[in-house]
């Protein structure tokens, strides 16, 4: 076992991915396939008067033009699953209003270009702060009479929602949700502090930018079963959402989660209702592959946020009070928003004596908010960690020491009102402090600086199960329903190998579809390894019991006196009395065999969380002439509980850090004042390229999670959280002036340098 866990190994799927053998969701051949092209609204807010379909239908190969009324939808809800095409009211520019379905992709494209949509424009709500004012125009005029779409919230994380605020604040009907957390006398705590700092921070809409655009293929089997082959983070949640939207029995919907070409929170039942609706309406297989432009315009990026934050400390660096008012632009998402998460996470992994934290979820005519890696957290950390650096500066304290002095440990009560479980905040900060870059920070050339920041993600939980099956050749197959977003399957292989006693090379992992897979929740919230991992352990142990029972009879040794090592069952203390796993399995798996198949099922229902903390050092250079910021070097330290496969863990840490650098410097979905998208392609929306990011040093810290599989935690989200703030703190030092808005583009930095 010791040489199974903690060893850097290639991903299980690497060989087929480097040879082009992997079939992604757009790749499979389907007989008689039709191709759909969405027509996207050009107006941000309008009523649809009608369509002129003549020219479209005249295109050879076009089979149908479908509008909302043509899809066999069950309800009248306004969530994107219930209303995949705008019914009467368009609520953002980019919203799908019709589908053109054709025999070829080219015909569908030609047909879509010719479709004429007649709009009656309505006042667009674009400014999220103005939208909150009493009397503001409403971003949606049709009431949602049937909104059950809130279930998707639960897949992203366990963040409690705080108390409802009924303080009598006058707000418009665009404010869909208010969250308040208060404790202690905040005013008195500020008054008694030695340093108080406050500022307003802004972050834009940010796009997940998975390189595989959203895609789904749907067809009806002759039996009547609807088959959905899709790029999704969750097969069971997609099945439930589709069954709800189209009023189908669960067992008539079979969802196949194909290999994911990236997702980062954005792939949940968004395009599936379109493909399914068309397939049901036309009774033919339909594929919808979004173009990149459509994916930019029509999907569900991370919310823009405005954060007013005020924090204080005593002269010795003890944090006293925190007050936040956080405005979250939900766009058109009436079902859920991150105001609860972000107003919780803004307190960071630190102790406070008093807090007053408010979150507002506001609807506007921009996109539909969706999850993006650690939803609500990078923005919260950007605000908090910027001000912690300001406090350190005012009090003349070392920024890491300030944070260490206040870092939570197990048992400290957070602003959620609950005690923190095991958490590695102190260990991560101490490890980061040892990195040579921190010592070098005071001897850098002019225009360069090192900044630091921390961030955390609470993790999430959902019951899960797994099956382990040993075949007659002695290899094991682990079966789950998990969509492998981040390499979790490769983690399951070493978990199963360690728990059973096989070399990891003899374990494969398959993602089964909803017709046959054991249940697990969607991949999101950094919960897969933490919740499905223990199920895999129990399934492997159950299979091992079958193995030992059979081997005990064969070897005439009690099961308790047997051990399984490297694929061999042997007597403890007498290793030459042994059989291979393959020998035992082949005796079980044959006609007339006398032993039960070597198979096990395991489940888990975690009830304790396992937050992960990551802290960053970012070394930047600011060009005073152009305002351009270059990240020269970046370090991330993260508590991962236990690194089951350090190579994959480092991959998550690096990928997260670089996405955080994207938040910091490059990425923003910009609208014009009328609500039309200005940055709707990779030409205008810059994600980090190889030339624009540095090497990322990784420091793995292991503070085992008591209930995690071999101590492991979910680690996918924490690495992005503090990265933008670390870059911002570095820029503040290098430029001698702080920026309060992301991304820190050259024009903004140039402006700041001159003001």
């Amino acid at each position: 076992m010791s040489d199974t866990l903690g060893v850097a190994r290639p991903r299980l799927d690497a060989p087929e991915k480097v040879t082009g053998a992997t079939r992604f969701a757009a790749d499979g051949y389907v007989h008689g396939l039709l191709h759909a092209r969405p027509v996207l609204a050009t107006e941000p807010h309008a009523r649809i008067r009608g369509f002129d379909t003549d020219a479209t239908l005249a295109v050879p190969g076009v089979v149908a033009v479908l509008s909302a009324a043509d899809l066999p939808l069950a309800g009248t809800g306004t969530d994107r699953t219930s209303e995949p095409l705008a019914r009467e009211e368009v609520v953002f520019a980019g919203q799908p209003v019709a589908l053109v379905v054709a025999e070829t992709e080219a015909a569908a494209e030609d047909g879509a270009e010719l479709l004429v949509v007649d709009y009656e424009p309505l006042e667009a709500v674009v400014d999220v702060e103005a939208a909150m004012e009493p009397g503001a125009a409403l971003a949606r005029t049709v009431e949602d009479s049937d909104d059950e779409g809130g279930d998707l919230e639960s897949v992203h994380g366990q963040v409690d929602k705080g108390q409802e605020d009924d303080a009598g604040e006058q707000l418009s009907g665009n404010v869909l949700d208010r969250v308040t957390r208060e404790q202690g006398d905040v005013a008195a705590a500020f008054a008694a502090s030695d340093a108080v700092v406050e500022a307003t921070f802004r972050t834009p809409w940010v796009y997940q930018a998975y390189i595989e655009p959203q895609v789904c293929t749907a067809w009806l089997e002759p039996s009547g079963t609807l088959v959905v082959s899709t790029s999704t983070q969750g097969s069971f949640v997609t099945r439930r959402e589709l069954a709800r939207a189209f009023d189908l029995p669960l067992d008539r919907v079979r969802v196949i989660a194909e290999p994911l070409g990236g997702a980062f929170g954005g792939k949940f039942a968004l395009v599936e209702p379109l493909a399914v609706g068309a397939a049901l309406a036309l009774q033919r297989p339909v594929r919808l592959v979004l173009t990149r432009s459509e994916d930019f315009a029509a999907t569900n990026p991370a919310s823009a946020q405005v954060t007013h934050l005020k924090v204080a400390a005593r002269a010795d660096g003890t944090l006293t009070a925190i007050e936040a008012r956080m405005i979250v632009d939900r766009g058109t998402n009436a079902g859920w928003g991150v105001e609860g998460a972000t107003s919780l996470l803004v307190a960071g992994p630190y102790r406070w004596q008093a807090h007053d934290l408010r979150g507002y979820g506001v609807q506007t005519n921009r996109f539909t908010f969706g999850a993006y890696r650690a939803p609500g957290a990078p923005t919260a950390a950007f605000a908090l960690e910027s001000l912690l650096d300001e406090l350190a500066r005012e009090l003349d304290l070392d920024p890491i020491e300030l944070r260490l002095k206040n870092a939570v440990v197990e048992g400290d009560v957070g602003v959620s009102g609950n005690p923190f479980p095991t958490i590695g905040a102190v260990e991560v900060l101490e490890r980061l402090r040892e990195h040579p870059l921190w010592a070098q920070r005071n001897s850098l050339p002019d225009g360069e600086a090192v900044g630091m920041a921390a961030g955390h993600w609470p993790g999430a939980m959902e019951p899960a199960s797994a099956v382990c099956r040993v075949d007659a050749d002695g290899t094991m197959t682990v079966v789950t329903s998990v969509a492998d977003m981040s390499g979790v399957n490769s983690g399951f292989a070493v978990i199963a190998a360690a728990a059973f006693g096989l070399p990891p090379e003899q374990v494969r992992v398959v993602t089964a579809d909803t017709a046959s897979a054991p249940y697990a929740g969607a991949s999101g919230g950094s919960k897969v390894t933490y919740t499905v991992g223990p199920a895999v352990i129990r399934a492997a142990e159950a299979a091992r019991e079958k193995l030992l029972a059979a081997a005990a009879q064969e070897l005439e040794i009690a099961p308790g006196d047997l051990e399984v090592v490297d694929g061999v069952v042997r007597a403890v203390g007498a290793p030459d009395r042994s059989m291979t796993v393959q020998e035992v399995a082949s005796k079980a798996l044959r006609f007339g065999g006398r032993y039960e198949p070597i198979e096990g099922h395991g489940g888990s229902a975690q009830t304790s969380g396992a937050p992960s903390v990551a802290a960053h050092l970012s070394h930047v250079r600011v060009d005073r002439q152009t305002g351009e910021v270059t990240v020269l070097r970046h370090v991330i330290a993260q508590d991962v509980g236990r690194a089951l496969n350090p190579a994959l863990v480092e991959g998550q840490m690096r990928g997260g850090a670089v996405q955080g650098i994207g938040w910091a410097l490059f990425e923003q979905l910009d609208h014009d004042e009328d609500g039309r998208l200005l940055t709707g392609s990779f030409l205008d929306y810059a994600i980090p390229t190889a030339e624009r990011v540095p090497e990322i040093d990784t420091l793995i810290v292991e503070v085992p999670a008591p209930d995690g599989p071999f101590g492991a935690k979910g680690i996918g989200e924490a690495p992005v959280v503090g990265a933008p703030a670390a870059v911002a703190n570095a820029v503040a030092r290098a430029a001698g002036t702080r920026l309060y808005e992301l991304p820190m583009t050259p024009p903004r930095v140039w402006q700041a340098l001159r003001s």
């Binding site: 850097a8 290639p10 991903r11 799927d13 690497a14 060989p15 991915k17 480097v18 040879t19 082009g20 053998a21 992997t22 079939r23 992604f24 757009a26 790749d27 051949y29 992709e105 080219a106 997940q208 930018a209 998975y210 390189i211 595989e212 655009p213 290999p259 994911l260 070409g261 990236g262 980062f264 592959v289 173009t291 990149r292 432009s293 977003m485 981040s486 390499g487 190579a647 994959l648 480092e650 991959g651 690096r654 990928g655 850090a657 670089v658 996405q659 392609s681 990779f682 030409l683 994600i687 980090p688 390229t689 190889a690 030339e691 990011v693 090497e695 990322i696």
Partner: protein, 154 residues
């Protein structure tokens, strides 16, 4: 009007019916079933569709199928025709040069072009060569390490 184009794909002569406007990437994917060339954008930015055309990396979404008439096309499926992994592919497996794998075929073929020019490229040269290949998962470091390892071994 569809008409026939003949390409030398992964060492084999292949003829297929295409329209005048058909892009090479669609001819490969839809016409020949070579789905290792991925489509990640519609503005020639992402590089997921990269193939080798007469040995040089090109984005196959920027080339008409007709323009490739009679020319030598290597896709990811043809990089190692004998079933073994090509040294670059092996390096990507061993040095963790991929996560989701969607960018990977394009990245590997870009690397194949770079490395075919000889020598052992510096990290800076590698990163420069990759400027037209977007990867959202890895932060690029595993990719650079994989390519560096092949360069150093040659």
């Amino acid at each position: 009007m569809p008409d026939t184009v003949t390409l030398l794909v992964n060492g084999e002569e292949r003829s297929l019916e295409v329209e005048g406007r058909t892009l090479l990437v669609h001819a490969l994917r839809d016409g020949l079933g070579l789905t290792g060339a991925h489509i990640g954008c519609d503005t020639s930015q992402c590089g997921a569709c990269t193939v080798l055309l007469d040995g040089r990396a090109v984005k196959s979404c920027t080339v008409l199928a007709h323009q490739a008439e009679g020319r030598d096309v290597t896709t990811i499926e043809g990089l190692a025709p004998d079933g073994e992994l090509h040294p670059i592919q092996r390096a990507f497996v061993e040095h963790h040069g991929l996560q989701c794998g969607f960018c990977t075929p394009g990245v590997i073929l870009t690397a194949a072009d770079l490395l075919s020019r000889g020598g052992s490229p510096s990290d800076e040269e590698i990163r420069h060569a990759l400027r037209g290949n977007l990867c959202r998962c890895t932060g690029y470091q595993g990719i650079v390490e994989s390519i560096r390892a092949v360069g150093a071994a040659s």
